[in-house]
């Protein structure tokens, strides 16, 4: 839906590499996580394999996240995640209106992609929430489950491990929902596949 003539180079190599690895690790973690959660011998991945793969993928995702975090601190990519609070709600409303009504009327996107603004207000909100709140929480709670001795023993009569477990599952669930919506919204490019091509070749 975005309208621009010259292709913009928005995704440098490190971002593209980080993104594809992040996607693969998340997908692996969701599949193995579901296999652990609803484990029985006939489900997608056997429990023992699922646990091992989940642990390894979790550690790799954490390392990958650290690269992303440091990369955002030291490159201009981090600026895309910082947004002006003033007037944000009306911008969010306008973007929401576009996705729910405007898009069906073939209206132009209210916040077209530019070099200075890669994300629309809804993307900003969801990406910041996922990358700076949910993913760190899922990593920390995952560490707590991997090394249960670091979790608190007892809070209000319930083991700290139970809270950690619940938090890990909640965050994992949010990431799953996010991935579904994220992949669907990626079909909102010039063509259904153009945004997928962009994250591979770097040009929008």
């Amino acid at each position: 839906m975005e309208n621009h003539s010259e292709p913009l180079y928005l995704y440098p190599v490190w971002i593209r590499l980080w993104h594809i690895l992040n996607a693969l690790f998340c997908l692996t973690l969701i599949i193995t996580g579901l296999s652990i959660q609803f484990s029985n011998p006939t489900i997608i991945v056997r429990f023992r394999v699922a646990v091992a793969v989940h642990n390894v993928a979790g550690v790799l995702l954490s390392v990958n996240y650290i690269i992303f975090f440091i990369g955002n601190l030291f490159t201009k990519n981090g600026a895309y995640y910082v947004f002006e609070v003033r007037g944000y709600f009306s911008r969010l409303k306008s973007q929401f209106h576009h996705y729910t009504i405007g898009v069906f009327k073939k209206e132009a996107a209210p916040f077209p992609v530019t070099v200075d603004s890669k994300f629309n207000p809804l993307q900003q909100l969801s990406y910041v929430a996922v990358m700076y709140v949910i993913i760190p929480l899922v990593i920390l709670s995952g560490l707590g489950l991997l090394y249960p001795e670091i979790t608190i023993n007892n809070l209000l009569g319930i083991s700290g491990l139970d809270y950690t477990d619940l938090l890990h599952l909640f965050c994992g669930f949010v990431v799953t929902i996010f991935m579904c919506i994220h992949i669907y919204f990626c079909t909102f490019g010039k063509t259904a596949l153009s945004n997928f091509k962009s994250i591979i070749n770097g040009y929008h």
């Binding site: 959660q37 029985n40 056997r46 429990f47 009327k105 073939k106 007892n154 809270y163 599952l169 669907y184």
Partner: protein
């Protein structure tokens, strides 16, 4: 001549007396030597008057050891025979078992006091648990009638009919109440599982009832995560029997295809583990430690919030709604683009 004639009979009498004396001495000597031999041989395992023992000891003198000794009534020879292992009763186990107060002949025929035992006694019908414990108010808390009906519905009873009796699993000579009295959960688990492994881990006993090849238990449970931990901490019947929370020990063993295989069946709230043994344990905890400590700080908990059924349903509904919303949005988009 007269002199000669007078002397001769005296000599004859003397020689005869001497001969009888020697013969008597020889016979005596031989008798005493044979009785010494006998005494020596009996000294090893002396035949003792059985009447001096309490009633059960009369039986256990033979049935309490791996060999027995008896005198052949016809040849008068002393014989040693090996006692058939199934007929050996361990004194140590019997005298601490629940049935220790019984005389052997309370359950077995009085005719067993005859030796050699009459052959027809082999066909003697043996009493089952329910024959003594059924309908007895004193044993009502053990729910023998329920156990009996569960057992009748079990795969053991269904497949093997009357061949399979209570004694296949519970040896009346060693049976000791365990799940209700033992505070060590792992010991209870080991005790219970040994009952199953008696046949399922011993091909000679397994083959008594079936022509099927005995499955390798470890291989059959290969899918089970942390197999050793499960085997140490979970009773076989927890997954292989229809658990009813009114019974501590489930007796309705189900066919293998109905055995529990899903993790969440146990690792969830209101799981089957809570149905019997653990539920009982929690109740006992509440009794001994009080409501708060016993219930909330119970160490027997195997639940995790991740297996809260309500949360599982909510998350699945939310996920379904997200996918539905995406699909509706996509369909409208495609329609509008045409």
């Amino acid at each position: 001549m007269m002199y000669r004639a007078n002397i001769r009979p005296a000599w004859v009498v003397l020689v005869l007396l001497l001969f009888f004396a020697i013969a008597f001495a020889l016979v005596k000597n031989s008798e005493s030597s044979s009785s010494t031999k006998k005494a020596k041989s009996v000294e090893k395992t002396p035949i003792v008057n059985l009447d001096q023992f309490p009633t059960n000891e009369k039986c256990l003198r033979c049935h309490g050891q791996s060999k027995y000794i008896f005198e052949n009534a016809e040849s008068k020879k002393i014989s040693y025979k090996r006692m058939y292992s199934e007929l050996i009763i361990s004194r140590n186990e019997y005298y601490i078992s629940n049935h220790k107060g019984f005389k052997c002949t309370d359950c077995h025929s009085e005719d067993y006091s005859i030796f050699p035992h009459p052959g027809n006694l082999r066909m003697e019908a043996k009493a089952n648990c329910i024959d003594c414990h059924g309908g007895d108010e004193k044993f009502s808390k053990f729910k023998f009638e329920k156990i009996d009906s569960n057992f009748t519905a079990s795969v053991h009873s269904q497949k093997h009919s009357e061949e399979f009796t209570c004694w296949m699993c519970h040896n009346p000579h060693t049976y000791k109440i365990n799940a209700r009295t033992n505070e060590n959960m792992q010991e209870t688990v080991a005790y219970d599982n040994l009952i199953c492994l008696n046949c399922h881990g011993d091909i000679t006993k397994y083959e008594l009832l079936t022509n099927k090849q005995q499955p390798n238990i470890l291989k059959k449970h290969d899918w089970l995560p942390n197999q050793a931990t499960h085997f140490i901490n979970v009773r076989c019947i927890e997954c292989h029997a229809q658990n009813k929370d009114t019974l501590i020990v489930a007796h309705e063993i189900v066919p293998k295809n109905l055995a529990v295989k899903k993790c969440e069946s146990c690792h969830a709230q209101n799981s089957i583990l809570y149905a019997s043994l653990f539920k009982y344990n929690v109740q006992e905890n509440i009794k001994t430690k009080g409501w708060f400590k016993g219930l909330f700080l119970s160490e027997t908990s195997t639940i995790g919030p991740d297996q809260n059924n309500t949360l599982n349903i909510i998350s699945l509904v939310l996920f379904g709604l997200t996918i539905l919303a995406i699909l509706i949005h996509a369909v409208i988009r495609i329609q509008k683009s045409h």
